[in-house]
């Protein structure tokens, strides 16, 4: 069994950030905070199986986005936006002192994109603060 080296304090703080994000942001279907190598750290509205799958896919997307950013000569991947007929998937880089994390958000199509981006960025900042403090 794989266990990411994330402290219980940081994990609890991250879960609180996600819960607040879910409460304060309209039309969010699910979200997961993950380690760069694809392990879930905290999840919103996902069971363990769903969170594991989303974490693995989120890490692949973040890694590919980071690679194409580098290939294009643009440094510092920050976020990736996927739009479908039915909704939106956001993949955001989460800067943390001791580890690289990513945050994946799945939202309904009727979500206001600007509000979703702003709220997601605020959640990422809160998570970063929690990880850097713990």
């Amino acid at each position: 069994m794989s266990v990411p080296r994330v402290s219980r304090v940081a994990r609890t703080a991250a879960q609180k950030c996600l819960d607040e994000f879910g409460t304060n942001t309209r039309h969010v279907r699910s979200a997961v905070l993950l380690s760069a190598d694809g392990f879930e750290i905290a999840a919103l509205r996902l069971d363990h199986h769903g969170a594991s799958r989303m974490a693995a896919m989120g890490s692949s997307l973040a890694a590919v986005a980071s690679a194409i950013t580098q290939e294009a000569g643009l440094s510092g991947f920050e976020r990736m936006l996927v739009e479908s007929e039915a909704g939106i998937v956001l993949v955001l880089h989460v800067p943390a002192a001791l580890s690289t994390l990513a945050f994946v958000v799945v939202a309904e199509k009727k979500a206001v994109l600007g509000q979703l981006l702003w709220s997601s960025a605020a959640c990422v900042a809160a998570i970063s603060g929690a990880f850097n403090a713990s």
Partner: protein, 194 residues
């Protein structure tokens, strides 16, 4: 960088075409190393720090894909894709396996479940696409021999080339690619003869 001498063997019989070859196998088997060993330019890498050292002690792991390419003298291009090794990235195996002309399965013979890993990766891809197996670290203590993998394949009714390789050596990786290209060519000839 491109090595014309080393690639010479790959140039026979196949010209002006493009081939997608996928390197797959468990974490730590050497997929990224193999692609880096022969790619004409620095490969695209999606390696990240690994937090899971229960399976493999590697510091980094591929979570998206590796990508490299080699141009042959006759204008043919071989595109080299590497998959992540862990089962949780199985969705990437399917994505990268689409339209592959050939699969190279790399196995670490020193892993206690190496034979099961071989089964896992063979089952993940269709039975039509040509496959070559490269077995690494056969010289390690308690490692299985390449024959053990041949016997495993025969027990499952599968026949395919199995090589003992060190993927850090360019010549060994070229051997695997050369073999898969020959299998692809033979399959094409057989198809045309029908």
């Amino acid at each position: 960088m491109r090595d014309a001498h080393t690639h010479r063997d790959l140039e026979q019989g196949i010209g002006g075409e493009e081939f997608k070859i996928v390197f797959t196998g468990p974490m730590g088997a050497g997929k990224s190393t193999a692609i880096a060993a022969i790619s004409d330019s620095a490969p695209v890498s999606t390696d990240v720090l690994s937090t899971d050292h229960s399976v493999c002690a590697k510091a980094t792991t591929t979570v998206g894909l590796d990508y490299g390419s080699i141009m042959l003298g006759n204008g043919a291009c071989v595109r080299l894709y590497g998959t992540p090794g862990q089962a949780r990235f199985r969705f990437m195996w399917s994505i990268l396996g689409q339209q592959a002309a050939g699969i190279i399965v790399l196995i670490d013979a020193s892993q206690p479940d190496a034979l099961v890993q071989l089964d896992t990766f063979l089952d993940a891809f269709d039975t039509v696409t040509p496959i070559v197996v490269g077995v690494g670290r056969t010289g390690s203590p308690r490692a299985l021999s390449a024959d053990a993998f041949v016997n495993r394949l025969e027990a499952h009714g599968r026949v395919m080339p199995v090589f003992s390789v060190d993927v850090r050596r360019k010549a060994d990786v070229v051997l695997l690619v050369d073999t898969i290209l020959k299998l692809i060519e033979a399959a094409d000839v057989a198809l045309e003869a029908r």
